[in-house]
């Protein structure tokens, strides 16, 4: 059993929320100040999915702080999970799948770290992990489901079953996952943290409710009235947000729905390096892209304005 009481104890999680002020006020700050709220040993949940709306700017700023002993969870983990492993920041990854996508094959870095027992990967089904976040978002210690029943995944995290008190049916009691910190990237927010997402909602709204601390980056900080004009588009309330940072292209080179496309050739280059020299290649990548640039703008400059402009053009073309 690898799930911990800290992950599913809804009473303790609620007490943490109750103890903190839930201000309707200003949340804007810097990446450095925002990520200063992450402590070694924290469980950090990432929003988005695979290479869609990944909170890469927040992850970038987190790794620059050289954290240790983190648990990192995400429904489909892309290469940011490899970064965490090679950076020595992560001891446990919680996910349903890890890689980049079919054309890029298996994650050689995950294989190396798991097969050598250096990092534990706790696997859940995609819905299983989604329900862990949702249970926490709802403030309950578990949610009943049929998923994962009968599979060997039940033993990985240490799931238990229960009998329905009304129907007698056997059900999977999917344990809640209350992360210490959620990293979320959104399309727009007002300066108070009221946030709106376009296109794929992924699991961000649940993760933001589940976590004790919510750190958010936004492509755009909009006027108060822009949010108030469409309150039915708001998915995360400001009182749930602890820190907000304005970061255009905050998911780049991953995609942000409607704004910019992902950079498949960059993924191919990244994977080619790993095919050649394994984790060492990721270490060099981190030096160049994460530890090297001192600001996120410098990080983006490594890709260049023309690449950013082309990614924006492609996004419009794809949805046109």
């Amino acid at each position: 059993m690898t799930i911990t009481p800290r992950e599913f104890d809804f009473r303790a999680a609620r007490a943490r929320l109750a103890a903190k002020p839930k201000s309707a006020g200003e949340k804007l700050t810097t990446l450095e100040a925002a990520l200063g709220r992450v402590a070694d040993g924290d469980h950090v949940a990432l929003g988005g999915c695979l290479y869609s709306r990944t909170p890469l700017a927040l992850m970038w700023a987190l790794l620059r702080r050289r954290p240790r002993g983190l648990a990192l969870s995400r429904n489909l983990m892309c290469y940011e999970g490899e970064w965490g492993m090679v950076a020595g920041a992560v001891h446990k990854v919680v996910t349903s799948w890890m890689g980049i996508g079919l054309p890029w094959g298996l994650s050689k870095v995950m294989r190396e770290y798991v097969e050598k027992g250096r990092v534990a990967v706790e696997e859940w089904s995609h819905l299983g992990l989604g329900l862990r976040y949702r249970a926490a978002a709802m403030g309950v210690p578990f949610l009943p489901s049929l998923t994962m029943l009968g599979s060997d995944l039940m033993d990985v995290g240490g799931s238990t079953t229960l009998t329905c008190p009304y129907t007698g049916a056997l059900l999977h009691a999917v344990p809640a996952l209350f992360p210490d910190v959620a990293l979320i990237h959104v399309h727009r927010a007002d300066r108070f943290g009221n946030a709106q997402i376009d296109g794929y909602p992924h699991m961000d709204a649940d993760i933001a409710r589940a976590a004790a601390t919510v750190l958010m980056s936004a492509e755009e900080i909009v006027e108060d009235d822009a949010i108030r004009r469409h309150p039915d588009r708001t998915v995360i309330p400001g009182f749930a947000v602890d820190a907000l940072v304005h970061v255009p292209h905050g998911s780049y080179p991953h995609e942000c729905y409607g704004l910019y496309d992902a950079e498949a050739p960059h993924f191919t280059e990244y994977v080619a390096g790993i095919q050649q020299s394994g984790a060492d290649s990721v270490a060099r990548y981190l030096d160049r892209y994460v530890y090297g640039p001192t600001t996120h703008a410098e990080y983006l400059a490594l890709f260049g304005d023309r690449a950013l402009a082309d990614a924006r053009r492609r996004a419009h073309e794809i949805l046109a």
Binding site: R11, A13, R14, A15, L17, A18, P21, K22, S23, A24, G25, A136, A137, M138, G139, V140, D190, F192, N194, R209, I227, R228, P231, D232, T234, V235, P237, G238, F239, A240
Partner: protein
Amino acid sequence: MTAAPVTATELLAVMGARALRDNQTVFTGVGAPMLATALAQRLHAPGLTMVVEGGVVGPAWKPGWLPISTNEMRAAYGARMLPGITDLFLMAQRGFLDVGFIGGAQIDQHGNLNTTAIGSYERPAVRLPGSGGANDIISLCGEVIVLTAHEPRRFVPRVDFVTSPGYLSGGDERRRRGLIFGGVARVVTTLGLFGFDPETRRMRLEAVHPGITVAEVRASTPFDLLVADGVGTTDAPTERELAVLRALDPARQFLG
């Protein structure tokens, strides 16, 4: 003091507003609670977030356009988010709501409220409208403030039906029955302010409003009311409080 006399609703709204702190999230309702919350926000709690039952977060009601129900367009005016009713209550269950306001047809000495039925549930003498969100608010918010006119018929030793559990039979029964958070922090009536004895969880008078005596409160409370040592007197609503409050409801739709 201001010229116009202070109405019951004005008194409840002002005393309710004073119980709120800055940066709190407050589950409020139509009438006095809404006025109390909006008043606090305009006076000493600019960082306060109002939420209402229809599924509204952070509304900015137009003075003169206060909603009659918590789920009509007027209640959503200026809202920052409309998460839906179930998801809003689930935020309360998660622990996002610090304070909730409720009222009730009956309240007893342990802070239990009844809005369901006078008499038996199946064949009541009077069928009341029901819980609505009152049970959820008192079960899930960090603490609850009850605002009510102090009419003797409303104050009973034990409610006929526990729609919204306060401390049940008192002591730690609320916790033993699974409500591991919250409870009734304060009862604000037209006669005074009340709390609950930390041991027995019986209602205790803590302050009377100006011009009200403890004897009058006892006479209007048909159960054995505890009285705090050195029971205080509340400060009368100030001109500023009344001016801001009255500006919210110029037609006196709710202020009376």
